[in-house]
Symmetry: C2
Subunit: 247 residues, 2 copies
DNA sequence: CGGATGCTTGATATGGCTCAAGGATTGTGG
DNA sequence: CCACAATCCTTGAGCCATATCAAGCATCCG
């Protein structure tokens, strides 16, 4: 019996999970046979809204999404950016009411997987349950790292740190390499993620460009001075808990 | 066969888990038969250190602890405060290297439970595994809420929000009531948790006292104006995902 | 009673915010 | 392929919330 072709949409998930853990052939097959309904969503569109009680989770196949919460007077906090392979609302499996929203940044292709199927899978293959749990724990580790930035780092350090983080996350699922990656995040989004105003975000980015540390044009980020950005932002990738590191 | 007396140290855990989920008698019994080695630790002492690879987790029976990370030049970020019933390093079950430290705030009594026993328990009682997973998800929800504070709220709002949060967490395990709770957190700790200097923390606390919103003396916090603090900090307890709410 | 720890105060400095406007890109419909 | 709208980026000026530095005071505990 031939295995599913590499274009199978759930391969995206297998690939991602293998970046943070090891799976057996049997487990891989089990994941690939999950039921999934695929949809294409426009940019800046909500997938799940604060207060919802979802009965499915959402696997990102293409495009970027973010989790965020709106406050009074139009203030917004973005908690995380998500890329293909991520299940940004995996937590809804065990926290039944959403305490924040999930929306697209770019146009995005997503696969909806019923909670019921995820639960069955975790019961039949406890190891997969553990890996999914692990994924939500890595999410939490990233939250903590953002807290360090917002609590104790300069705007420069926060932005540099996020560049390093997203680059490694993209690289782990083969969406980046050579210190170059897609960057569809606007300066307003970036500010809302890092607790900065758009004006200040803009000025720091110009400083980075001026010093030749990065180039950021046409939705592509090039990290020209990786070591310098890492040093300046006190970036240590341990918290990403990546299992396999690129060469 | 009589059930374990209420003084059984693992009752602390059962009590806490029942504040965020429902357990059957059988599950309760299974938790109570976990093996645990109990120790008393001095204040300001590390329990697990950044970089460790623990083989057990640590249930708080008495006292307060916090998770934190040290940065260059003595800067520190505290990620969370933990109280009796919490297992602050539960994540080490699936993230094998600690990316931060766990230490005591006050003198504390802790019970060490081997990872192996936790894994067995989760396998024999998948429902308990789910509840533990859920607990780590609530942790992450609290991280997100702190991110909102540090990214988008004033010092006043952050402190007020933390007061509301800790009061409800303590109340959920019967350690607070009547808008009064223990508060062993120094002003330096509070600043390190919320991304503030100790000087500014002090001034905001005085403002709160001056306005008659709180009283904070001798390690006891009294929230005199609950509604006002909730309003000013945009506090909405949904993110704590408490199952049973006090009357 | 003395040392340690934590709290309070004043003075000064600054990183980042707000407001406001103009310029550059990008995507879209004709 | 152009024109226009929408979105995003950039710039300047002024200000404020919070940081830093430095010292003295209060409280707790052995």
């Amino acid at each position: 019996m031939p295995s599913a072709p590499d274009t199978h949409s759930l391969n995206t998930l297998v690939h991602k999970l293998q970046s943070i853990a090891t799976l057996s052939d049997e487990e891989r097959q089990a994941i690939l046979s999950l039921p999934a309904r695929t949809r294409i969503l426009a940019p800046r569109q909500d997938i799940v809204h604060d207060g919802d009680k979802p009965s499915q989770c959402c696997l990102i196949l293409d495009g970027w999404t973010c989790r965020y919460k709106m406050l009074s007077e139009g203030r917004r906090q973005i908690f995380s950016f998500h890329i293909p392979g991520d299940i940004p609302d995996l937590q809804s499996l065990h926290l039944h009411t959403m305490d924040h929203s999930l929306g697209t940044i770019t146009q995005a292709t997503v696969a909806y997987i019923p909670h019921e199927s995820m639960r069955e899978l975790s019961t039949r293959f406890p190891r997969i349950g553990e890996v999914l749990w692990r994924d939500t724990l890595v999410d939490a580790a990233i939250f903590r790292e953002w807290m360090i930035g917002m609590g104790r780092k300069s705007a420069f350090g926060r932005i540099a740190h996020l560049f390093c983080e997203m680059y490694l996350k993209l690289e782990a699922v083969d969406l980046a390499g050579d210190h170059r990656c897609p960057w569809p995040i606007t300066q307003v989004d970036l500010g809302d993620a890092l607790g900065l105003s758009n004006v200040h975000t803009n000025r720091v980015l110009q400083e980075m460009r001026g010093k030749g540390l990065i180039s950021l044009r046409g939705s592509t980020l090039v990290i020209q001075a990786w070591d310098e950005l890492m040093r300046a932002s006190e970036f240590d990738p341990t918290y990403l808990h990546l299992e396999k590191r690129a060469a």
